[in-house]
């Protein structure tokens, strides 16, 4: 029997993700705080519910894709939340990027009502969401992961079961620590090259394919040289994720020497009104410190 899928949160990520589930042939019921966002999905055959609770009442698998830990808590456990409408045996799949700790708390509360939960944050951005090429990092019970896998496969390409509840979120934070660290290395290297007076485009060409190479360098380096700071992923969203990493590290009393510095440098850009620029604008914090302008 085909699982009925509920989808809560139709933002820049959620809308195309829900669309891809619908395209894959699942019956879909959606809800969004701003109801008008649901219209294209309604026209494509989705049911539109009046609350997360109603979504849950119509669905076997309920996906949440919202912004912050408290948003997930609200739509799952709050008044009119999923927990009040879902049947025993239903699965809540939170694909937002939120706190691993809050994830475990929500999973426990749902579990007590016989509702399973997976945390399944994604990487790949809005392009990945549209093209159904997201990487999905999953925490929760293996059997539940297998049950949801066909729905994941409608949205993503690489689906990895990391471990129990919270492990998906932890993996996402690891991902973000790597992303910003590689971004910082790029910003520092390009600033150095520019100040030293060499042709930065040739340098980029010489080093990108070897031991210095990274996704960040190959994909964002050329944009910096063109002074293209349009967001693939915005500083605002990057900072939200880094706050989660810093918070988790604080709970573990774990220093994050690199990440904490980068988080601070992004703050300089937030203070400068650049929160909606792409993360590649990190180089602008170093440019501000040094008077260098990276171009090529």
């Amino acid at each position: 029997m085909t699982e009925r899928v509920g989808f809560i949160g139709l933002g820049i990520m959620g809308l195309p993700m829900a669309g891809n589930i619908l395209k894959a042939g699942f019956p879909v019921t959606v809800w969004n705080r701003t109801a008008s966002r649901a219209e294209p999905l309604a026209q494509a055959g989705a049911q539109v519910a009046a609350s997360p609770r109603e979504v849950a009442a119509q669905s076997d698998i309920i996906i949440t894709m919202v912004t912050a830990s408290e948003d997930v808590r609200q739509v799952t456990l709050g008044e009119d939340g999923v927990i009040h409408g879902a049947q025993r045996g239903a699965v809540v799949v939170d694909m937002s990027t939120i706190s691993p700790q809050v994830t475990r708390e929500i999973a426990e509360a749902l579990q007590a009502q016989g509702i399973a939960m997976l945390d399944a944050p994604v990487s790949g951005g809005d392009v990945g969401a549209r093209n159904a090429t997201l990487s999905i990092m999953v925490g929760g019970d293996a059997a539940v992961v297998e049950r949801v896998r066909p729905v994941f496969e409608a949205m993503g390409k690489k689906i990895t079961h990391i471990g129990p509840n919270g492990a998906g979120q932890t993996c996402k934070l690891v991902n973000q620590i790597l992303v910003v660290g590689n971004n910082m290395a790029m910003a520092e290297a390009l600033t150095f090259a520019t100040r030293a007076g060499v042709d930065v485009g040739r340098v980029l060409e010489a080093v990108s394919g070897g031991a210095a190479g990274s996704w960040q360098l190959s994909n964002l380096g050329p944009r910096i040289l063109k002074r293209d700071f349009a967001p693939g992923f915005s500083i605002r969203n990057q900072q939200k994720d880094l706050r989660l990493a810093m918070e988790a590290a604080d709970q573990m009393r774990l220093p994050l020497l690199g990440t904490s510095m980068i988080h601070s440098l992004f703050r300089v850009l937030e203070a400068d009104g650049r929160a909606d620029e792409g993360t590649q604008a990190l180089v602008k914090a170093l440019e501000k410190l040094t008077g260098v302008t990276v171009e090529g």
Copy 2:
């Protein structure tokens, strides 16, 4: 007419590089401080000279592959150095990683005697040296680069002319800033994942192919999980290169926020007697701070 090639410095890099030039059919004359290192090349048909000066007297293109800035100065400009044996029109190609500033000084001194110079540091390590797959970053006159290109092609795959003398060395330092920055991101991310209690092998699998990916992560991450700290590239050599980057940055009054911290963390490992371990041992500095042991 085939260029006669001289090769000075037959260490772990220089020996296989000279061998590959010989294999490509160039007449080769070599010199090494420890003469016995030249034996395999002599057996393969190389001439062995008694000094850098003698190498230069027998060669059109003289390659130096030694350790430090002062070593290059000694074998090129010192007593019995290349400058005393080379004919006008010869080319000195320094493939060591040394100071861009010292490079420009040596190039000027050679130029005054009608001897051209290229700085052409490499990346790719001893494996790249043996397999003739080095990346070569070249500074100097374009016409001279073209003249030497067939010799470069005997040693490397990606040959990039960056700019005038010193630009090759600057590019190499940019390469090293990227390498250690990506290494640091990996070390911090793996420490975070381990402390958070997730399966680090699965995390690595989930994140390596996406926006968090890097050569360092794909190649050194799995070694860390196996606790394999054998040197592909040693901390000793990495620190030598970072000293050059720090020195160049100091001359330019340029902060290197990330690199200076990483340089300090490597010092912790030097103090612990780990200078001959591979650079992936950077994670051990974070392990020492946190009590975490990354394994998987």
